[in-house]
Symmetry: C2
Subunit: 412 residues, 2 copies
């Protein structure tokens, strides 16, 4: 008989499995391993002294208020400063509909809480963000998988799928989840024409869109594209953002802009029982940093650093990878996506890569249907250019060896 406490978990726990990849990577904590697997922003860029000064000033000036209970909606001056900033980035909306969350991850969880019953359908890009899959899996949903190409989600395929569902009376998705800018994991960006079309299609079918935009400000080439939120005329786009990639992730500060007062109120009612509210002193500190104009000085530094790292990785791939290996060249963000000649399983390849002291995330982790086994995600934000180049060199060796091994097996 199992211990009493382990006896009867909820059905949803069956979908809370630890990822095999996480375990593999944990086993290999060998410091000689170059990890292209993580998604960490570059710690050396964090404005630590500015945070230190901000916490000091907050505690000196706000005193006990910085440590007392706060409201579930978030610290009002932070919501106001953020609303101002978002308006300048094309995400217009009143601070009154801006909810502060524990990182964007909690925003996804709260959206799950508010929208998803077991068996519900949501539409996702494939591949998509692993943390979103984990957030939505908890709510025992099914996925309508929309294919992607170099211009992002194939909106015509989405439209066709929604039409087919309407015709057959099958339930429509509760929402469409999409990362339009430098998507995690693929690095792809949703093209402008497709953005317009996506909002149109969603409006026609009456399906809300969750626009997850953690990397939107980290563009290294080309022009900023309008957010889906800014193209929306039907109160259907829920915009999710975070300070994690433009400042630092460790304080867990993200946000969600709701298109209606009603949805905002419901999300607040979902946040209250989850944790009452997000920690106050960190909200006050970041509000102070925003007021000091830190982001205007800091984001350009982050962009310059990551642009150089992306260039280093893309350059090294061009130099070292076999020519039949495809990859994306993202215009921003933290990741690029590699697709090997079919027949190589990147899950198996990871084991060999760790022997060569290099790590990546196998692509299947970002797929909900077992596909993607020939792909991998590479991160270029967390190591300097020379380390990235050496990592790619090692990975190239592993890929080449796998190809040769496969060839050897293919010829009896």
């Amino acid at each position: 008989m199992p211990p009493v406490a382990d006896a009867r978990y909820a059905a949803r726990t069956a979908r809370m499995r630890p990822s095999a990849v996480r375990d593999i990577l944990r086993v290999s904590s060998d410091p000689r391993v170059i990890s292209l697997a993580g998604g960490l922003p570059a710690g050396e860029l964090f404005p630590v002294e500015e945070y230190r000064a901000a916490f000091d000033a907050v505690m000196a000036e706000q005193g006990a208020a910085s440590l007392q209970y706060g409201v579930s909606e978030g610290y009002a001056p932070l919501r106001e400063a953020l609303a101002d900033r978002l308006a300048r980035l094309g995400v217009d909306g009143p601070p009154a509909r801006l909810l502060i969350t524990n990182g964007a991850q909690q925003a996804l969880d709260l959206l799950g809480k508010v929208f998803l019953d077991p068996g519900d359908v949501i539409a996702i890009e494939q591949p998509t963000y692993l943390g979103a899959i984990q957030a939505f899996d908890q709510y025992e949903v099914r996925y309508l998988v929309v294919p992607t190409d170099d211009d992002g989600m194939d909106v015509e395929a989405l439209d066709a799928a929604l039409r087919a569902r309407t015709e057959t009376g099958a339930p429509l998705p509760k929402f469409i989840y999409v990362l339009p800018n430098f998507q995690n994991p693929s690095g792809r960006t949703l093209a402008l024409a497709r953005r317009r079309r996506l909002v149109e299609v969603a409006a026609r079918h009456g399906v809300p869109i969750v626009e997850d935009d953690p990397y939107g400000e980290l563009r290294y080439d080309g022009d900023h594209l309008p957010t889906l939120h800014s193209l929306d005329r039907h109160q259907l786009v829920i915009y999710v953002g975070t300070f994690s990639k433009i400042l630092a992730p460790g304080l867990r500060l993200g946000w969600l802009a709701a298109p209606t007062d009603e949805l905002f109120r419901t999300l607040v009612l979902a946040k209250q029982p989850s944790d009452l509210h997000t920690a106050i002193a960190p909200q006050m500190a970041v509000e102070r940093l925003l007021g000091d104009g830190l982001l205007e000085r800091h984001v350009p530094l982050v962009r310059a650093c990551y642009r150089e790292r992306r260039d280093a990785m893309v350059g090294a791939i061009g130099e070292h990878f076999p020519s039949d290996v495809a990859h994306t060249t993202p215009h921003g963000g933290l990741f690029l996506w590699v697709t090997l000649a079919s027949g190589v399983d990147t899950g198996e390849l990871l084991v060999r890569a760790l022997d060569e002291h290099v790590a990546f995330v196998p692509g299947a982790s970002f797929h909900v249907d077992g596909s993607g086994t020939d792909s991998m995600r590479l991160n270029f934000s967390s190591e300097p250019p020379d380390v990235l180049r050496e990592g790619i060199r090692r990975l190239a060796t592993v890929i080449a060896a796998a190809r040769d091994g496969r060839a050897a097996i293919a010829v009896p």
Copy 2:
């Protein structure tokens, strides 16, 4: 037609209603109102300068690590320091099974995520903590309501109910939720003999216990009683605690001690998709405060302050309240519980009380079955003694007027 984003929420949102009380209290933000309604710890006691120094030292010494992503389990040195401290308080267990959460509230939410399917039953004391009801309501549960008296939960009534369920084949509760020390809202403490018996009954029926202990260290009279966790020999007690009442609540730091590795792992898998992890710099700062021995100096100050406030409130009740009004005299915690002579609805009374510039929480909020309308919760932690005395004096006037009004109606 409603806006697209409001179209189809999950079934659980039907149970995420704003409390009428919250609305009433919000309307009355009149600074002349003496609020005995809140549950705020006394801000003037917060060790602000110690926090300020701790954040400064953490950022100086830990640098970027204090702002980088961390692990879902929590900051390891904090878990170790906390395990040491808990062991001294009779909650033995390895740091490896201690999960850091965003306040105790998130611990309750995660327990709901892991244990509760729609329609499941859990056993609760009545009255019980409103935030727990809200946390469990999200999971669409039903309640097995266990009556309480001055010695806390009536364990024999619980045993009888569990036996009856076993005999009729009705499902047993997924867990028993109990606040053994200075319960919110009643201020009652579970007697020692009942603690032993509760653990015995739970073990015999194979039902886990969730022991919520936010106030255990805030005892003003009598001896510390052993936790349920320390009486447990069957790995059935899940212990939930928080820094909110012994330090300050604003950083949202709580914890959960799981009785088994398996449950711990499952709770971590539930935390990851919820928010990845709890904010790092606050965990580092509090770890530093623990290492400096702050709690050993600070908790006695909190106790002394709240003891004086409790005495002031209890004394004023004795002086001013009509003699047919019953109240608890808690040995610790933040709250006491008042029961009026039947026939007075404290929800209606609150409206009149606000006219007299005093507020409380009507007792029905802490009941899941519509009962408790003749009771109210009073908080004595957040105002100084003279304000508490004036609040009670005003409240006595309102109660007397209501009684007279009722009497006047009774005599035609």
